[in-house]
Subunit: 493 residues, 2 copies
């Protein structure tokens, strides 16, 4: 077994430690010397690139364009939208000076006190304010609308407790910011994008998600409505995986963005914003991976197929190389990313463990006997099942197997979620059930007070009011007051 | 003529103003409220995306992987490489605090003095220091080498005088950082990447470049050698368009990065770094565009072909729509990005001017008579020449025309550069010739003193010691001392 794998804590022993170790051992990311900031290593970044490509294509198919807005935001901008500043402006990186100089005592470099900014600049925690101050210049008439912009960027929130991918001070994300002439259009856009996210989560990440609306307490600061996709991790906790906000006219009013409508009247512009981040990589890991390491959905795996030769001597390796090269070429022509690892500085067993750890969906092995019998051993990472398959048309076999794995890990995650989602009828039952993890569907009276009481007593929050599912009214499990429908509770990352 | 076009200053009147206006009028970028930082608008960003895609493919073909390193760098890191800090650390954005709070007098938000960082953090002006502090953890043995990482990122240098794309405080770029076991390998990598850049500049941007080595004065701070590609703008000034640095063991020594070599000896690692930035968009604009607006090389044009209908009534428009839809579909299937603009809120003449301004390489127009005669009017943006072409197989015609335009604008830029590059034999001649612009090939004694004298007296700098071209020795035009070969002088952006 590979050195790296040896130390991996089992999920059943300590799920949280398993995650932390896996991220590092699988070469996805590591802590940087800067508190709370991560280094995303090439293998982790390759997953992010695949996510970006798929999402970017979906954004463009739905009419969006990319743009880029400044990293730094004048401090005063953050106070322009009253709720926004309360929710966002506090824990952030503040630029106060623009020059360093040599210390006079020769001790190194110091901040030049003469180079103090008149107004401090904030590293963007999110870009609504800088973008709406820009949209003011772009929008005069209804003819200038809609604006459908997205940006891929780094953002920074000074988090006190960080975990790789799940919560880091700096992270990578995309943020869409749209401007519309009517409330209806902006709301439609908000819903459209949460659907894009759930489509991406389910069809690319193989992670089933519950789509819903946040309670007022959990809403984005400055939004009238926040839509969310919530995924269930293997420990039964929820992970908020993407959000889409209907911002009403709040930012348009804060930055005075008005337009002349078709009837020649001045109106404030309607807005949405939406984002997903490198947090999705955390969701991916915690949804599918196991005690042997990562399990990656084929659609996002940097390497989909690895081929390892087992050989007695150079001559045999030569024959295997020749045989394999045709298979590699054919797989590549089918759009499959394949790696042939015939490096001689690692033993096959080491390679097996390494590619298992890294979650490569399909492993093919060719040994001397396979060469004679024109076969290969095929192992699928999701179930670890092995089969011996004829080389004739093995490419189609592998291609289908990748699709099967993609479907299977989705189904497995869905089954787990289904099993771990229950209705609870009383608060006493709730308190017992929440200790077991999972999603609890319960009635709630709709007040922030009850929501907070539940949070304080059980550490569970309302993850969302689901868009789909049971909409029967009932009575709040805590206060007995009327409840319009069950909402979804869970402990969350 | 379109409203936007009316105000465009002619190049001959004021080249610099023409550039500034064009960037804004063509919707490429604009100044942001943050001093020196730009907003890259969707049309400008679409060019950058095309550049990124092409470069990224080339990096991957040459064995590189992407990764991501932190935005913020501890202040002390910058002083670890002595020359590096002199060249880089001074004008930069300094983060000193990590929290804001409400002012007690209710006047807004202020920086929380209690949240002062122990060590200030610098927004990366370039990432050698943070990356080499990370590589220290990654490298133990020769088996860990080479490391061939690239990152796409934003960086910040507090520039006093900024111009959109050419020099902005924040800009987007890629920075490659490689680590090698031997000096030869690192040098080979450095040269390989300057070749990738010149290949990209010439074959995608259609911008001819001179490859060469910088003089010691112009070297990257911390490098043993800086390779550069230098392009000539239409005003005869040089624009440094990409650099690749051989860093020797300087950063390995600064961060104590050693490895065990094959002979079991400890050695410092050898390094290269290389980068191009959004400045390339400035180079693109200033190389090809004219008094009517942008001229974009087809390979980087967001829209390669625009089709505009001219119609008398709805019925005719319907017939044109039908006819055009087949052509659009066929062009798309050939990988051509095509826009059919049959919007009814702008007149054809307005559209013509707008797409000229935006540099769309090919325009097709179909009117009523064309419909009858099964033809279209084809206009190529580079020469503004029009032709009437049969619709039969027009797609192949357009496809070839795009290639011809790509080649033609390269040739035009190359001819201009050839014409504007001269040998000068004396310093008196130099002083006269430099006023006319262009590249001057002259003998230099190799000393920083002479270089500085020339710079102070003529504002011309040594752009590079070209890799190719005349290598005959001679005598320095200023001092008469021996010169190994002519070097290339110019005034530069």
């Amino acid at each position: 077994m590979a050195k790296e794998l040896k130390g991996l804590t089992k999920r059943s022993v300590n799920y949280s430690q398993w995650y932390n170790e896996l991220v590092v051992k699988a070469d996805l990311a590591e802590q940087s010397p800067v508190r709370g900031c991560m280094v995303i290593k090439p293998y982790g970044y390759a997953i992010w690139e695949k996510m970006q490509r798929a999402l970017d294509d979906m954004f463009k198919e739905t009419g969006h364009e990319n743009a880029y807005f400044p990293l730094l935001i004048p401090k005063s901008y953050l106070s322009k939208e009253a709720e926004h500043v309360e929710g966002f402006a506090k824990e952030c990186a503040v630029v106060t000076h623009y020059r360093l100089k040599n210390a006079e005592d020769g001790s190194g470099i110091i901040v030049d006190p003469a180079a103090k900014l008149e107004e401090e600049l904030i590293i963007r925690p999110t870009s609504e304010t800088i973008i709406w101050s820009t949209y003011k210049k772009w929008i005069n008439s209804y003819r200038d609308l809609p604006i459908l912009c997205n940006q891929w960027a780094n953002v920074m929130r000074w988090e006190m407790r960080t975990r790789l991918f799940l919560r880091t001070s700096e992270f990578l994300w995309q943020e869409g910011h749209t401007a519309h002439a009517t409330r209806e259009e902006a709301e439609e856009e908000t819903v459209k994008m949460i659907n894009v996210y759930s489509n991406f989560a389910e069809n690319f990440m193989a992670v089933p998600v519950v789509k819903g609306v946040k309670s007022a307490t959990e809403r984005f600061a400055g939004a009238l409505d926040t839509y969310t996709i919530e995924a269930m991790m293997q420990d039964g906790k929820a992970l908020q995986s993407g959000t889409s906000h209907f911002l009403g006219q709040n930012f348009a009013k804060a930055f005075d963005v008005q337009f002349v409508d078709k009837n020649n009247k001045m109106n404030y512009v309607w807005a949405s914003s939406w984002g997903v981040s490198t947090r999705l990589i955390g969701a991916l890991i915690m949804s599918h991976s196991d005690d042997n390491g990562l399990v990656l959905p084929p659609k996002l795996a940097p390497i989909q197929v690895v081929i390892v030769p087992i050989y007695r001597n150079e001559e045999q390796l030569g024959l295997i190389n020749e045989k394999v090269s045709g298979i590699v070429a054919k797989l590549k022509s089918m759009g499959v990313s394949v790696k042939y690892d015939n490096s001689d500085n690692k033993r096959p067993g080491f390679k097996f463990a390494e590619y298992e750890l890294k979650g490569v969906p399909v492993r093919l092995v060719m040994g001397g006997r396979d060469l004679e019998s024109n076969t290969m051993e095929v192992m699928r990472r999701d179930t670890l099942e092995k089969e011996t398959v004829s080389c004739d048309n093995i490419e189609a076999y592998v291609f289908n197997l990748l699709e099967e794995i993609q479907a299977n890990i989705y189904q497995k995650a869905l089954d787990f979620r289904t099993k771990s989602t229950r209705n609870v009828e009383s608060y006493d039952e709730f308190k017992v059930e929440i200790e077991k993890g999972g999603f609890l569907m319960a009635h709630w009276d709709g007040t922030p007070e009850t929501e907070e009481l539940i949070k304080n007593e059980t550490k569970a929050t309302i993850r969302c009011i689901p868009l789909d599912g049971d909409k029967t009214p009932g009575k709040c499990m805590v206060t007995g007051k009327p409840s319009a429908r069950r909402v979804m509770f869970a402990r969350a990352y």
